[in-house]
């Protein structure tokens, strides 16, 4: 049994498929997430692929604070993903709502809506920081 668990954890570490969701960001973090998907940064080295459907994805990458409009949608997307699943909050706003803290339409960081596994601060977070965050998250899978 232990060997099977080890192989399963190995496969999950080596093949994370991501899906990208904007929960109300100013678009700067989204551009950085897209930049980290380009051939220049080559995240396929780590087996990372961008998927369109939440059913296929393992890692949900969220950018921006959770607005009242997007709260229900981000919960729906999270629930559509299959287990095991992970969430990465990219950018200062995603971590803590940032400068939008206390705004009339903002609930707070991503963790006010769904559980978050990794926080990547930055305004916006650089592609190197995003890749570093995802790879560190993967190394916690045992």
């Amino acid at each position: 049994m232990q060997i099977i668990n080890k192989v399963m954890a190995w496969a999950r570490r080596k093949s994370p498929w991501i899906i990208h969701f904007n929960s109300g960001a100013c678009n700067a973090c989204d551009i950085e997430v897209l930049a980290s998907l380009t051939p220049r940064y080559d995240i396929e080295r780590f087996g990372i692929q961008l998927k369109g459907s939440p059913r296929h994805a393992d890692v949900l990458i969220c950018s921006g604070p959770v607005t009242m409009q997007q709260r229900d949608r981000i919960i729906t997307i999270y629930e559509q993903m299959t287990e095991p699943k992970f969430v990465v909050a990219v950018g200062t706003c995603a971590c803590s709502a940032g400068v939008f803290e206390g705004c009339y339409c903002v609930e707070g960081g991503i963790d006010t809506a769904i559980p978050v596994d990794m926080y990547v601060p930055g305004c916006p977070a650089r592609p190197e920081a995003i890749i570093d965050g995802v790879v560190k998250l993967l190394n916690t899978i045992k």
Partner: protein, 317 residues
Amino acid sequence: MANLMSVGTAIFNILVYPGFLFLGVLSLVYEYADRIIYARLQNRVGPPWYQPVADLIKLLTKETVIPSEANNRLFRSIPTFAFAATAASFLYIPVWNNRSLLPFDGDLIVVMYFLTIPTLTFFLAGWYSSSLFAEIGGIRAMMQLFAYEVPFYMSLLGPAALAGTWSISGVSQFYREHPLLILINIPSLAVAIFSAQGKLERVPFDAPDAETEVVGGTFTEYSGRFLAMFRMMLGAEMVVVAALIAAVFSPFFIGGNAALGLFLFLIKVLAVVFLLALMRAALARFRLDQMVSFCWKVLTPVSLAQILLDLIIKGAL
């Protein structure tokens, strides 16, 4: 006793060669080859060698969700049908010598029919998922079927008409004996490579599962082991189509030595996969109407002219 032997042979054929094990390993190897060639053409490092295996194990061990709206029984069984049709078509394609496992006159047509079934299952999978994106993806897959299928069939019929046989083994035997005649079929080879991209739903003809337009296309609702089955099937289909093109268009077959024959087979399939990956890296996605008009206005006339040329040369020989 003889009865028992034939049952044993059948089980070996289904499970090991050329069934699940052989085709599964080949599909993983060529999926890796495709991805690393694509990565090198984009001037990047690319995935490590174990990447397809890791993807497969991860998908097999993930939770599998079946939407409550979907038709449960069909949703579960469609991936199996798709893989079975692909694996069955591999029976008629020669591997290490110029004779396939079960050759008969007319197996070229049978393989073409078997290779149509996966596209039909894509449509059914999309339809019975009861998701809007999956349905749009399925309808796009069906629409592409009407565009690429005719040039793909006709591009293989030209060489077969010149060889004067409907058997894939017979065609490859003929071109082994007359290797120079293969030069006549080069336009047909180009048509076959282009329309194979449509059959495999790869760039530039990947409108059915374009993730920027229709989320995941046909496979939007599929997850876990059913998605793994579909991915295996897509890899196997790429191997089968590449092996079919290699068998019909290349004269380099060596009978007798099995190891050398298998090596040549792997090289030939790799060459076709390289061409497919080159096109994937070089071209952008066609709109659906552009794709249909390109297939009917360019590829079909070229393959028609090819059949005519082959018939004239056959008359002159």
